[in-house]
């Protein structure tokens, strides 16, 4: 147990170092962070970010509002900055990990060590590590989802009606909060109501109607307040092309990293299915795995697995706790007990002793499978030297995860002073022009005090469905209204990229965070058509 704890605490230290490093980085680290900041700024000014993208500044958000609303007071207090959004994401993951540990402690027979390992296992996941310290709403959604599940897990066993109603109300409020943080929380909403339906259909229907009325009323109000843009930008625009190979690749990656805990989690679900009662954790995990299939959508990625990772940490923790308590000897008598369990009874009895030794090995195996760490710096270079860990990612970083499919986020490395200097150099270029600047990332314009123009991935989402009229933006490009264009991933719709190529040329390439930022200036003579 101690060895497993040491490895997972090392992961926690790496997580803390990465989070602190990112909080000090004043620019976009992951593409899209800046637009989350823009959404937060708009909410802090009492404005919705769901806007008509066919007119200047061609900007809209495609995410629900709650994360940005929570972050908005920081804009009033500290102005426009990235650190508070990253702090919120970091804290969300820690709260989710604490909730996971608490659930395992409460429902797993108060096995303290296993509870701690389960919470740490969540933070050790490469996926959680990649995503939590960003200025993104995903981890806040997972936090609300986890809190909802942990609150509702034993609600049906509460005898006192008033207290049961209070718990139901609190749990469903968390589900609603998750849904209005990110649309993907639909999986948790389904899991909750399936669980309630299995345990008591009447309760599920009554509370389901109330939940739908409240959720629907908020939805309707925002749609009316934004003249239909809420529906267009957050629902319609998110129905993207599905790439099956991406889903398959990301599932392979998910299993290769978390397999040590997925197997016991799956065994625990089978136990509940055939020999006990289905818990909310099992249904939530299955729903989380189900929604992970959507990771094959264009624009989606490994973050879609985070809900399932939270679920598997709880279920594997409950499996481990039951093993540590040597409770696998009490199976209820039914058809499958007679056919499968009883013939294996003698072996099972011996295995229960081995299981106590096996549990720490599972967490050690998991800690090694998910290993990610900088290979530079005071402590990390020594650890890397001792264990011969070679960097395989940007900025001297080792990551056991890697790109085996599209949708994988190539992040996790620490930023350097050279990256910060590069960012300020781009800001100086933006400040040097009197004209507007079209940038794929918002930070340079925000810091330079210029308008943030477009949210490129959202324009591409809309364009792929024929919902973006690019004529006004293209007219500005053809008039060379932009003094500079800054691109990193070239996410703009194809026709916009084609006009940029005709009217602008690359004058400089700035390396930052392992990416090449292309600085384009107007051509003196546009390319011939």
């Amino acid at each position: 147990m101690i060895a497993a704890l040491v490895i997972l605490l090392f992961h926690l230290m790496v997580y803390g170092v990465f989070a602190l490093n990112l909080m000090q980085f004043p620019f976009d680290y992951d593409q899209g962070e800046g637009f989350e900041l823009v959404d937060t700024i708009l909410f802090s000014q009492g404005q919705f970010p769901y806007r008509d993208t066919n007119v200047y500044p061609f900007y809209s958000s495609n995410y629900p509002p709650l994360f940005h609303v929570i972050a908005a007071p920081f804009v009033w207090l500290f102005g426009e900055a990235y650190w508070y959004g990253r702090l919120l994401g970091t804290l969300s993951a820690i709260i989710a990990a604490c909730a996971i540990g608490y659930a395992v402690y409460r429902d797993g027979g108060r096995q303290r060590w296993v509870a701690v390992l389960s919470g740490l296992a969540f933070l050790a996941s490469n996926t959680v590590y990649h995503i939590a310290p960003l200025f993104r709403q995903h981890m806040t959604m997972v936090m609300f989802e986890t809190l909802a599940i942990v609150v509702l897990a034993n609600v049906n066993e509460i005898k006192d009606q008033r207290r049961r109603r209070r718990v139901l109300f609190t749990g469903l409020a968390f589900v609603l909060a998750a849904g209005y943080t990110k649309q993907l929380a639909i999986a948790t909403a389904i899991a909750v109501f399936v669980f309630l339906f299995i345990r008591q259909p009447r309760r599920s229907l009554v509370w389901g109607v109330g939940f739908a009325l409240v959720g629907g009323a908020i939805f309707l109000w925002m749609n009316i307040a934004t003249d239909g843009q809420w529906w267009l930008q957050t629902i319609t625009a998110n129905v993207n092309q599905f790439i099956p190979e991406q889903t398959v690749g990301l599932f392979r990656l998910w299993f290769s990293l978390h397999g040590f805990l997925i197997v016991p989690a799956a065994l625990y679900i089978l136990y509940e299915l055939y020999f006990s009662r289905l818990s909310i954790y099992a249904i939530w995990f299955i729903a989380g795995v189900g929604v992970s299939i959507l990771s094959g959508k264009w624009g989606a990625g490994d973050s879609y697995f985070t809900t399932s990772i939270a679920g598997l940490c709880i279920l594997s923790g409950l499996f481990a706790a039951k093993t540590m308590r040597r409770e696998w000897v009490n199976f209820p008598i039914n058809l499958y007990t007679r056919r499968i369990i009883l013939p294996l009874w003698r072996v099972a009895n011996r295995l229960s002793g081995v299981g106590v030794l096996l549990i720490p090995l599972l967490y050690i195996g998991y800690g090694i499978a998910t290993l990610h760490m900088p290979t530079q710096g005071a402590v990390f270079s020594t650890v890397a030297d001792v264990f011969n860990i070679q960097p395989n990612a940007q900025n001297g970083f080792y990551d056991s995860a890697g790109r085996i499919a599209g949708g994988y986020a190539d992040i996790g490395h620490l930023t350097s002073q050279a990256d910060i200097d590069a960012g300020w150099h781009i800001v100086d270029l933006v400040r040097a022009t009197d004209q507007l600047v079209l940038s794929e990332e918002a930070s340079f314009n925000l810091i330079a005090g210029k308008d943030v123009i477009t949210n490129p991935t959202q324009l591409l989402n809309l364009a792929q469905q024929g919902l973006f009229d690019s004529s006004a933006l293209i007219a500005m490009i053809e008039r060379q209204d932009f003094g500079l264009i800054i691109m990193r991933a070239q996410f703009y719709p194809v026709d916009v990229l084609q006009r940029i190529a005709v009217y602008y040329e690359i004058v400089e390439t700035v390396p930052m965070n392992g990416f090449e930022y292309m600085i384009l200036a107007p051509r003196s003579t546009p390319l011939p058509e």
Binding site: F197, I198, R199, Q200, P201, R202, L205, F242, P244, E245, T247, L273, Y274, R277, L278, I293, G296, P332, N334, L335, Y336
Partner: protein, 71 residues
């Protein structure tokens, strides 16, 4: 079913899963049967969905013999 004391049994849950699996399978197949203009047959996404429907139905069948045990 709508009393305060009703809870789903393993048998009922199994039946619901079996029906859900069969209905889902039929609905996915119907996409190709009804949409006559489509080409390329059953795509990879449909294959994944069909496999999940078969798994759901299979698990449902295995739950039915467990009778009145609470689900």
């Amino acid at each position: 079913m709508f009393s305060n004391h009703f809870t789903l049994t393993k048998r009922l849950l199994g039946l619901l899963m079996l029906i859900g699996g069969i209905a889902g399978f039929a609905a996915i197949m119907a996409i190709d049967l009804l949409d006559v203009g489509r080409e390329g047959g059953i795509g990879p996404a449909q294959q994944i969905a069909l496999a999940l429907c078969v798994l759901l139905a299979f698990l449902g069948v295995t739950l039915i013999p467990l009778g009145d045990d609470p689900a």
